[in-house]
């Protein structure tokens, strides 16, 4: 092997080890138990059994359908919004960009309650508009968009800021209409970013669990919910692993295809971004208003509903923020997230570097999105029973679930680093480590920070694995919210909402802290 291959193999070692030990092995162990273990009593007759059972077939088809529909809707709504945010300068713009992260850090159970507060049986919108979305697929699609629209918008804004201003200007000078300039110059430039975000959206929705569990009801739940039910409640491991295998095949294909596309589309360029303009005509302001309206409707409304209800919870409920239990949970949340973030950053950076020369590695970064946390948690329990309720295992699981954000964000940024700069540094005698530290890292730092911010948000809101591997003294804010929702009484419901607000504030603070101030904007034209 040439030295370059050796180096990326060495870099890949740690992330692959982590994936293997904490993700692949537990899942294989669980599947093995289902097929050959003591519980292999319900082994399906053939791997095709899935497609002959109309119930399971509907589950799989619906899973694909809702993910695809969300992707299309998120692109159609998200791209214009991203364009407005990237091209127009207006007061509160950077605040809007920050706030876009919020949906991402809301625990799914709370988000679902927010969605239900709007569209549920006695929801605000249901009342005004007299529409009832309960038990329809729209509830899940709205929830999906709540979580995923901001992913596409963020990616779109980043992408549009990487469009070369001179090239667009040249096209315009040569007589291209704005629309044509967009289509021929901007669109090809932003495609890899959009493709990557849409790929994520598809994987989130397809492999998503929490939302489908609550908002899907019994009819519109996805395969992931079915797998969870089969494993956790019915102990039918063989059919569950069969389903999981098919899921893996489908999502693996998406991840692989995406890795290929992104690699091919990546063009290292040092761009001069297009300067943002101040809206001057009513039409411009209308565009800005429409973009903000879309965001308010899909991303802000459920959160506002939660904050609104929490604000009306009264002082007695808010006082519980200062009680011992909450403070302990807050401290746990902070230190667990910090540790997980550190681990995730190390893994993510190594993985991203290794992925520069390998499509397989790129695809592998999606494994944690593809395999459901619940399945992983069960597999871990089965594989390492002696480590049940051990903090290192919990934190490692956190890190493995969160690090793809770092890896993904960094990998795309590394693609865009012009090759000649590191080469120049190398020819001047810098060691590879020094090149990375002094040349490459400063250039990809914003992307790294963004990836880390995402990872931190994931760790802060992590729930499924916590519930499985945690002990009471390690209760985090999410587990506390869940506990409150497990008891009757109005005070408990309000307490859950108040805690959700605290968690949101915490996540926002963490995000602002990690992502840092956005780099100084170039003065407008």
């Amino acid at each position: 092997m040439p030295p370059r291959r050796w180096r990326s193999a060495a870099l890949a070692l740690l992330p692959l080890l982590a994936l293997g030990v904490l993700l692949v092995a537990p899942v294989l162990r669980l599947a093995g138990e289902g097929w050959w273990g003591d519980l292999a009593t319900q082994t399906p007759s053939s791997p095709w059994a899935l497609w002959t059972d109309p119930y399971l077939r509907w589950r799989v088809l619906w899973s694909v359908l809702q993910a695809a529909a969300t992707c299309i809707a998120a692109l159609l709504l998200g791209l214009p919004v991203a364009w407005v945010l990237a091209r127009w300068e207006f007061a509160g713009r950077s605040l809007v960009l920050r706030l876009l992260m919020l949906p991402f850090v809301v625990p799914t159970l709370v988000a679902a309650l927010g969605v239900l507060a709007l569209w549920g049986p006695r929801g605000v919108f249901s009342g005004w508009l007299d529409v009832h979305l309960q038990d329809t697929p729209w509830l899940l699609l709205y929830g999906n968009l709540f979580f995923n629209l901001c992913v596409v918008v963020r990616a779109g804004v980043d992408a549009l800021e990487h469009v070369s201003a001179p090239r667009v200007a040249a096209a315009r000078t040569l007589g291209a209409t704005p629309w044509r300039a967009f289509w021929r110059v901007e669109w090809p430039a932003i495609l890899p970013w959009l493709a990557s975000s849409l790929c994520l959206v598809f994987l989130y929705c397809f492999a998503g669990f929490g939302l489908a569990l609550v908002l899907g009801g019994q009819r519109y739940a996805t395969v992931e919910v079915e797998i969870y039910t089969l494993v956790a409640h019915e102990l039918q491991l063989a059919p569950a692993s069969l389903l999981a295998l098919w899921m893996l095949l489908l999502t693996g294909t998406v991840a692989w295809g995406y890795a290929l596309i992104e690699k091919r589309l990546a063009t290292p360029t040092r761009v001069q971004p297009i300067a943002r303009q101040h809206p001057s005509r009513p039409a411009h302001w209308l565009g800005v208003a429409a973009a903000l309206g879309v965001l308010a409707f899909f991303c802000a409304a459920p959160l506002v509903a939660i904050v609104w209800r929490a604000a009306h919870a009264g002082w007695d409920t808010w006082a519980l923020v200062a009680d011992v239990e909450t403070l302990a949970a807050l401290w746990n949340t902070l230190r667990f997230s910090a540790t997980a973030l550190l681990l995730a950053t190390v893994l993510g950076v190594l993985h991203a570097l290794a992925a520069q020369s390998s499509v397989a590695m790129r695809a592998a970064a999606f494994l944690p999105f593809v395999v459901s946390p619940i399945t992983v948690a069960f597999g871990l329990l089965l594989l390492y029973p002696q480590w049940t309720a051990s903090l290192p295992l919990l934190l490692c699981a956190y890190a493995v679930l969160a690090y793809p954000f770092v890896a993904k964000s960094l990998a795309s940024a590394l693609d865009n680093v012009p090759e000649h700069l590191p080469q120049a540094a190398r020819s001047l005698g810098a060691s590879p480590w020094r090149v990375f530290w002094r040349v490459t890292l400063p250039m990809v730092a914003p992307a790294l920070r963004r990836g880390m911010a995402f990872a931190a948000a994931t760790a802060l809101g992590e729930f499924a694995v916590t519930l499985f591997l945690s002990r009471p003294e390690w209760a985090t804010l999410t587990t506390l919210i869940y506990q409150r929702l497990g008891r009757p009484g109005a005070a408990n419901g309000d307490a859950a909402l108040v805690l959700a607000c605290v968690l949101m504030a915490l996540a926002l603070a963490a995000f602002a802290l990690i992502e840092g101030p956005r780099r100084t904007e170039s003065p407008h034209a």
Binding site: T229, T339, L342, P385, Q386, G486, G489, A490
Partner: protein, 340 residues
């Protein structure tokens, strides 16, 4: 340089975090519990101090999930004792040989689970109703389950799915115990026609569908102690619960849950102390308002708030063996009848 120093600091902090629990490890008693387990922290601390037993409490999800975890890991048990197995799930535990016999003869238990389980508390799964919603609609409360299948009660009931929820499962068992298998599934089929709503778990049923919490359904499958919990956790001081119990024939299931030794687990002496602790007066009093169950020891004084949760005089039950033999099949049939 600053960056590098910061990195070193962070790495040290990380190492400290990870090594902390390893240092504090001196073979505690591993107690597996379901997610509803909850006792006041001072009480647990007092037990640890007086008995010299260090507790490591492992929460394992819903009661059904907890049992499945026990079964999955029986080759290398993850706990020494387990709390929360009940009369609906114990036979499955026995069939999979995850429990060890336990000798305990003290106290005066008012109900039993199984020879291998020391009973600790009991509760009832039944229907709760929203008093305000019924007062507003002027509809009379149903007197039998049959009433619920009548058009007047269309779209009023929400139930947790028996496949994914312990109270849902208990309610299904109650209907079968109260009406007989065939009549019960016939009732469920008619309930489907009459708009019964099934949701994944108790939380969804109670917090999103129950009209008391913003939903549209004034009838929900919950616990006999829930009205008392409503008073206890009410924001304002109230003297009457906003919800009430409906004890209908075929709609009440008694859950008796207890503590047991995990087969292959260690720490038998400490486990014995923990079992005695769970039956002690302090725990029996405390569990009423933390886990919302009734104390199994006959002479335990009832918590004041439990007057809002008067016990039903009658309930339906099935032999544990029958539940073990047919439970899975019944759940599958329920899914077929109500959902598919």
């Amino acid at each position: 340089m600053l960056h590098r120093r910061r990195f070193t600091l962070a790495a040290t902090a990380l190492a400290a975090f990870i090594s902390l629990p390893a240092l504090a490890d001196d073979a505690p008693l591993r107690v597996l519990v379901h997610s509803s387990f909850s006792l006041p922290k001072p009480l647990l601390a007092q037990f640890e101090a007086e008995s010299g037993v260090k507790l490591s409490i492992i929460k394992a999800g819903d009661a059904g999930e907890m049992l499945n975890k026990l079964i999955l890991t029986r080759a290398q048990p993850i706990a020494d004792v387990v709390f929360g197995l009940d009369n609906a799930s114990v036979a499955k535990a026995q069939a999979n040989k995850v429990l060890e016999p336990v000798a305990y003869t003290q106290g005066s238990a008012t109900a039993q689970v199984d020879a291998n389980v020391v009973p600790v508390d009991y509760g009832f799964v039944n229907l709760n109703f929203d008093k305000a919603a019924f007062a507003k609609s002027g509809l009379a409360l149903p007197k039998t389950l049959e009433d619920l299948a009548q058009p007047a009660y269309r779209n009023l009931l929400v139930v947790p799915n028996p496949a994914t929820s312990s109270p849902g499962y208990a309610f299904l068992l109650a209907t079968i115990a109260g009406m007989g298998e065939e009549k019960a599934f016939d009732w469920w089929a008619r309930m489907r026609g009459n708009g019964v709503k099934a949701v994944k778990g108790w939380t969804e049923a109670y917090y999103t569908e129950f009209s008391r919490n913003g939903g549209t359904r004034p009838l929900v499958v919950s616990y006999a102690s829930s009205p008392a919990a409503e008073v206890f956790y009410s924001k304002e001081k109230i003297t009457e619960s906003p919800t009430g119990n409906l004890f209908l024939k075929g709609g009440v299931f008694r859950q008796v849950e207890g503590v047991a030794l995990v087969a292959g687990g260690g720490q038998r002496e400490a486990a014995g102390k923990f079992i005695r602790f769970m039956r002690s007066g302090v725990v029996q009093e405390a569990l009423q308002t933390t886990m919302w169950m009734y104390p199994i020891e006959a002479h335990t004084p009832l918590a004041d708030v439990m007057k809002h949760a008067v016990e039903p005089t009658a309930f339906d039950s099935l032999p544990a063996e029958t539940i073990a033999d047919k439970g899975t099949g019944w759940v599958a049939r329920w899914t077929q009848v109500v959902l598919k």
